[in-house]
Symmetry: C2
Subunit: 487 residues, 2 copies
C-alpha cells in the first residue's frame, strides 16, 4: 500500500484491543464510521454504518413482536411534570436525569415538560382512558423512538449517551399471570435476538430489589460479559404489577363484573447493544460484525491489472449479482483510486464478515479467494455455486462468533463462597456467583468492599441451587446472584 494513502486516510487502529480497550473502542467506533461526536455534549451521531445495523435489529425484533399481536404507535416526546411525578418511585428514579423544556420561542411554558426518559407515564395516562372493559385487554403496544437521560458521567458512544434509540413495549393485562407471561415472553425474544443474531451469549435472570426498574414489582434482565470482564445489561423486561395502574387509575370491568386494576409490563432494548457487539467481537483490525446483522455481508474486491481489468470487473459484477439473488447483502468495491490492499483494510475495519478476492489467475482456475473476517482464515473456493458456499460460510461465522462469546461467558463465571474469594474474582476480572440474601445492606456492602461490583442478576438457571447462606452476611440466601463491574 502506498505510504501517502495510509497517511492521508489514517484508517488503521493505533492501539491493540487488549492493551487499552477504552481507547481501542473509541478508535473503532470513529474510524469505522459507526458514529461521530456531535455539537451537543454527550450525544452522538448514528452514521449510516451503525444506523443500518439498528435497522436490521428493528426488522428482526419488529417481526417477532408483530407475530405475537403487538402493534407500533408513537406518543409525544414530551411529558408534563405533573404526569411524570405520579408514580412515586418512578419519578425518584428518573428526575435527576431529565432534560426540561421550559420555553417555546420567547414564551415561558405554564408547566415545564420533560423529554421522555421512558414513556410509562405519558402512555398510561391514555391507557386509563382507552381501557373500560375486559374486551379492551390486552393492550400490546410498542414504540421505536429515542429517549433522553442526561447523565453527567463521561459519554461513551452507544454505551452511555444522553440520547439513545430503543424500543419500548408497554402492555396491559387482566391478570397477574398474563402479565408474568408477557414479561418472560419478551425477555426470551430478547435472548433469541441477542444470542442468535448479535452472537452474544447471555445470562438471563431477575434483578434484585435494589437493581430493579423504578416502579416495577420485579425486573428481568439479560446480561452479557465483555472480553474485559465487565458485565453489560442488554435489555430488560419489567413486571409493573398494579403500581402504575393505581397511580394512573387504569381500571376495567372484568367478565365477573368486578372493577379491577390492570396488570402491566414494559420492556426495552436499545442501541447500546450495538456497542456490545463492537466490544464483544472486534479485534485489532477493527469491527467484526455478526453476519445476520451486518449491513454488508460480503465485499467482493477485484484484483485489477491493466490488461485483464475489464474481464475481472465483469466477473466481479457477476459474482456480486449471484450473491444478491440468493438474498446475500453483497457489495463490490471497484474503485480505481485505491489499491486492493487499501480496500482489504478498509472493509476489515468496517467488520464485513466475508471478503472475496478475484483476480485474473483465479478466473483462469474458475475460483476465488475467500477470507473470513472473524478468524482471518483464507481459502480458495470454486466459483461454481459460490452463492451456496457463501450462505454456508456466513452461517458458520455466525455460529463461531456465538461460540466464542459463550466461551468467554463460561470462563468468566466463578463460584465463590466467601467475600475474599468474591473480591479476588472481581480483581481477576471475573464474575463471581454466590448465594445472596439480596438485602440493600449486603448490596451496599458488596459494592463498597468489592471495588464497585454490583449484583447483575439472579440467573434463572442457577436457582436450582436452593437453600444456602449469603456470601456476605451468612444469613439465609434468596438465591444465587452473579456479581460484576458493569458498563
Amino acid at each position: 500500500m502506498p505510504k501517502e494513502e495510509q497517511k492521508e486516510d489514517d484508517i488503521g487502529l493505533t492501539v491493540k484491543k487488549d492493551e487499552d480497550m477504552s481507547e481501542w473502542y473509541q478508535q473503532v467506533v470513529l474510524k469505522s464510521e459507526l458514529a461521530d461526536y456531535s455539537a451537543v455534549s454527550g450525544c452522538i451521531i448514528f452514521r449510516p454504518n451503525s444506523y443500518e445495523i439498528w435497522e436490521n435489529i428493528q426488522k428482526v425484533f419488529d417481526a417477532k413482536i408483530k407475530k405475537t399481536g403487538h402493534r407500533n404507535c408513537y406518543f409525544p416526546m414530551f411529558i408534563p411534570e405533573s404526569l411524570l411525578v405520579k408514580e412515586a418511585k418512578h419519578v425518584e428514579g428518573f428526575t435527576p436525569e431529565v432534560a426540561w423544556v421550559t420555553h417555546a420561542g420567547n414564551t415561558p411554558l405554564n408547566e415545564k415538560l420533560a423529554i421522555r426518559p421512558t414513556s410509562e407515564t405519558i402512555m398510561y395516562a391514555s391507557y386509563s382512558q382507552w381501557i373500560r372493559s375486559w374486551r379492551d385487554l390486552p393492550i400490546l403496544l410498542n414504540q421505536w423512538n429515542s429517549v433522553v437521560r442526561w447523565e453527567f458521567k463521561h459519554a461513551k458512544p452507544f454505551l452511555r449517551t444522553r440520547e439513545f434509540l430503543w424500543q419500548e413495549g408497554h402492555t396491559a393485562h387482566a391478570t397477574k399471570g398474563q402479565a408474568d407471561e408477557e414479561v418472560m415472553q419478551q425477555l426470551f425474544e430478547y435472548v433469541d435476538l441477542v444470542e442468535n443474531h448479535m452472537a452474544i451469549a447471555l445470562l438471563a435472570g431477575k434483578k434484585t430489589e435494589r437493581e430493579k426498574f423504578a416502579g416495577a414489582d420485579y425486573t428481568t434482565t439479560i446480561e452479557a460479559v465483555m472480553p474485559d470482564g465487565k458485565a453489560l445489561q442488554m435489555g430488560t423486561s419489567h413486571q409493573l404489577g398494579q403500581n402504575f395502574a393505581k397511580a394512573f387509575d387504569i381500571k376495567f370491568i372484568d367478565q365477573d363484573e368486578q372493577t379491577k386494576h390492570v396488570w402491566q409490563t414494559s420492556w426495552g432494548l436499545s442501541t447500546r447493544t450495538i456497542g456490545a457487539m463492537v466490544l464483544m467481537h472486534g479485534d485489532d483490525n477493527g469491527l467484526v460484525l455478526p453476519p445476520k446483522l451486518a449491513p454488508t455481508q460480503v465485499i467482493v474486491v477485484p484484483i485489477i491489472f491493466k490488461d485483464t481489468k475489464d474481464a475481472v470487473l465483469k466477473k466481479t459484477g457477476e459474482i456480486c449479482l449471484a450473491l444478491r439473488k440468493k438474498g446475500i447483502r453483497a457489495e463490490m468495491d471497484a474503485r480505481e483510486e485505491h489499491s486492493a490492499g487499501w480496500k482489504f483494510n478498509h472493509w476489515e475495519l468496517r467488520g464485513v464478515p466475508i471478503r472475496i478476492e478475484i483476480g485474473p489467475r483465479d478466473m483462469k482456475n474458475n475460483q476465488c479467494v475467500v477470507v473470513k473476517r472473524n478468524t482471518h482464515e483464507k481459502k480458495t473456493l470454486p466459483l461454481d455455486n459460490i452463492e451456496d458456499s457463501i450462505v454456508e460460510l456466513l452461517a458458520k461465522i455466525q455460529d463461531e462468533m456465538l461460540h466464542r462469546s459463550k466461551a468467554i461467558l463460561k470462563g468468566s463465571i466463578v463460584a465463590v463462597k466467601d467475600m475474599n474469594a468474591l473480591k479476588q474474582a472481581i480483581g481477576d476480572k471475573k464474575l463471581p456467583k454466590a448465594q445472596f440474601c439480596c438485602t440493600v445492606e449486603c448490596e451496599d456492602g458488596v459494592k463498597a468492599e468489592a471495588d464497585g461490583a454490583t449484583s447483575r442478576c439472579l440467573p434463572f438457571e442457577e436457582q436450582r441451587n436452593v437453600a444456602g447462606k449469603c456470601v456476605r452476611c451468612g444469613k439465609e440466601s434468596k438465591g444465587v446472584a452473579v456479581f460484576g463491574k458493569a458498563y
Copy 2:
C-alpha cells in the same frame, strides 16, 4: 344492531362531511382510532391505526431513496443555540417556534438547546468535518425522526401539531447542476408516492420567493386540493444553494484542485400527508384508505348462525389465508360479541378498502359478497380464485380514488385575469391561477384582498404560458401562479 351496542360504543359519525368538515375531520380521526389527543397541548398520539399507515409510507419511500444511493442515519434531537443561529434567514424562519431545553435535572445548561425544528444546522456542522475532497461527494443522507415546531394556533391532528413525524433528506454535491437534479428527483419521488400510493392528485411547482424555505435558493413543492377547496402542502424539496455551505464552512478540494463550497439540498415529507388522505378520501361513514397504504386491505366477516357456525368460520379462515398467501393484508373478524352489522360499521369507519361477507347461503353457492369501501358497491364473486379477483379489485379501487382526486383538482383550478375574478374564485372555494409578478408587495396585497389566500406555487406545467401581466399590479409577470387558502 342492538341499541345498547350502538350506544355503548358510539361508533358512528354524528356529522356529515360536507356540512361541517372540521368537526367531521375531528370525529373521523378520533373514532377510527387513528389518533388521540395527549396530555401535552398541541401534541397527538399516533395510535396503531395511523402509525401503520406511516410504516407503509416509510416502506415505499425508504425503498425509493435507498435505490438511488441514499442512506439513513440519526442525528441528535438537540441543536445548540449557537448552531441554530448560524444561517441568518434560517434562524429568522424557525426561532419563534422553537422549544428550548434549559435545564437537566436541577442544573441549568450552559447553553440552551433547541429541539430540532429541522436538522440542517446540526447535520451541516458535521458535513463540514466529513467533507474534504470531491471523493467524499455526493453525501446522500436521510433521517426518519420527529420534529417540534411550537405553533400557537389551534392544533389539528396530523395537519398542525407541535410534534410530528417526517423524513428529512440532506444532500451535498460538487456542482449546482447535481443539486438541481437531486431537488427534482426527490420532488418527483414524492409525486409518485402521493399520487400512486396515497391516491391524491397534485400540482408540482416552485414556491415564490416569499413562500420558499428559510435559507433556500428556491423551494419546489407538491400541493393538493382538498374537497373543501383549500390547498394542502404535501412535501417540499429545496435547493439550498451554497447558503449553508458558507455559513457552516463546508468546502472541498475539487478535481481541478480548487477549493469550493458544496451545493446542498434538503427535502421532507411528513405525517400531515395522513391528514390529507383522511380529508381527501373520507365520507360520511368514516375513513376511506387507499389500498396500497391501508394497514388492513380486506376484512372478512363471517355471517354466523348457530347451526352453520363452524363451517362458515372454517371457510372464512380459508379465504383469509388464501388472500394472505397472495400478499394481501387480510384480516377476519370472528368476534362473537358483535353482530355482523356492527362489524360492517366498525370496519367502514376504519376505511378498510374491501369487505368480504360470507354466510351459509354463499357457501352453498360457492360465492361471497364483496363490498367496495370507496363506492359502497356490492357484488357477488365466485370463491374460486377469489384472491385474484381481490387483487384486481384493490387495483381498481386505488385507480378510482386517484381519478376522483384528479377530478377535484381539475375542477378547482380556474384561470383568472383580474383581482375581482381572483377574489370571486377564492369566495367560491376554488384555486385561481393567474399571471403573477411574485413581488412581496403583490403577495401581501393578494393575501389582504382575497381573504387570506396565498400563492401556493408556480406549477411547472403552467410555465409554458410565458409573458403576461401580473393579475394584481399589471407589471411584468414572472409566471403563472396558483392561489388558495391553505391548511
